[in-house]
Symmetry: C2
Subunit: 247 residues, 2 copies
DNA sequence: CGACGTGTTGATCTCTCTCAATTAGAGTGG
DNA sequence: CCACTCTAATTGAGAGAGATCAACACGTCG
């Protein structure tokens, strides 16, 4: 993952099948707005909760998550961010949601100045449309999490999270290597994402493992029986869009 | 609420202070894309859960809500839609979130053809930017709900919902009339929005009422002690943006 | 070596759910 | 005008999923 500001045109992410191909002119526009790539260690706060107009980033490498917390420290993880995800949209554009963003692993970021959103819309309507697409897509992910936390029990929530993260992570890997995917979450992250206590998360995790529905070892996740765990999760479609824009 | 396709330029909603003023040219563009206004009764399904590229609407009058459900019937309300909200963004733009939309009261809608999103982006970057703003804003609302459902207990959830809905509804009223706001939700809606059972929702509602934190009568909500209920909800900012775009 | 993060596990408690009934309008049709 | 139906609100009793609290094990790291 050694990165010395790879040019957007040569971006290895763009070679991954899930990302939509862009015309060279649009890639050039993105390149012209972008700053040099930067690195942040695992655990770093990428966007402070409550900050009003923070920077924008494309997550180039590593995982992160968005979260909100209550004044007494209770924290809810809203969704996880994987390579290719765009960071800072909500805060930058609509002061509304005052969530924070934290690096789950070491991350590499492509930073953009604050007025990038407007420039993209103005100079390339297609990219403006793509930004809207990304916003709508991320809301869909949060919708799913809300359904889980509101109406699924602990086993179902866990199954849902594992299935969805597996699919998202697998989509970034070469087809041949999709038997297991990187899984950097600790049980604390899982608990905070699912609205469960740490103890209960642990017990439920063990219960599902005993049923042969998942296996997490050394930061890798595999799903020995994808159909069975999807059935527990009550998921029909696959949830991962065929192709998505990459800004 | 008699409506025979009021022209966008004369739209009474645009006169409300929370809505951003648009240049006449942009209002004209919106008008040119829009179909004649339509009415739907309370309880009508405006967008079927799982439908792929449904119509787009601006909610002109009445309340609605977005929801998702599990195969056994459990339902989660994702967020409520009030006049001025844009409907159908997520499904239309990113096949991702397969949620439904249901009318909570009788509603009046301004329908737009499916390619409107793209046309707005292409013909008026400012409006494209506004669309993105709306998407980001709505995601912020869902973020808040996820925080509630994941990490707040029943009393806190209820307090949060009442405070936020009160503010959103009040912003649509003349300043002088903001002591009470329309409140068309039944306890079933509240329960489904908060991830609680109906019975517990009812008991918690009564408990908060006994504390003098709210009063719901004949479809109207008032908050006798706004500071106290906001304290229970653990809300600091006001959550309602000063000005928002109206498409 | 002590501090810390992460995982693990037991015991106990309680918030919230489930199930079941009852009451009170509002609407409908004869 | 009355039986009938339906929705929404209400209330009680009992049960259970998940929370809380408290230890302990293990590995890493300064």
């Amino acid at each position: 993952m050694a990165v010395d500001s790879v040019a957007c045109a040569d971006c290895p992410l763009r070679a991954v099948a899930i990302f939509k191909q862009l015309p060279a002119s649009e890639v050039a526009l993105i390149q012209s707005l972008r700053h040099a790539q930067m690195h942040r260690p695992a655990g770093a706060i990428l966007i402070e909760e409550g900050s009003n107009y923070p920077s924008l980033y494309t997550l180039f490498g590593g995982w992160a998550f968005r979260y909100m917390s209550l004044s007494d420290g209770r924290r809810q993880i809203l969704n996880f961010l994987l390579p290719g995800d765009f960071i800072g949209l909500q805060q930058n554009i609509a002061g509304g949601a005052s969530h924070g963003v934290e690096a789950l692993t070491d991350v590499w970021l492509c930073p953009f100045p604050k007025d990038t959103l407007w420039e993209l819309h103005r100079q390339a309507p297609e990219l403006g449309y793509d930004i809207t697409w990304l916003a709508a897509q991320e809301e869909g992910v949060v919708d799913n999490n809300l359904l889980s936390v509101g109406r699924r029990n602990a086993k179902e929530r866990l199954a849902t999270l594992l299935v969805i993260l597996f699919k998202r992570a697998a989509a970034l890997l070469p087809t041949a290597k999709r038997t297991e995917v990187p899984f950097p979450l600790t049980q604390v992250h899982i608990a905070d994402a699912l609205g469960l206590s740490l103890a209960h998360t642990h017990r439920t995790l063990r219960a599902l493992e005993q049923l042969g529905l998942h296996r997490i070892r050394d930061g890798w996740l595999s799903l020995p029986n994808p159909l069975a765990i999807a059935r527990v999760a009550d998921i029909w479609g696959d949830g991962v869009p065929e192709q998505r824009p990459l800004i």
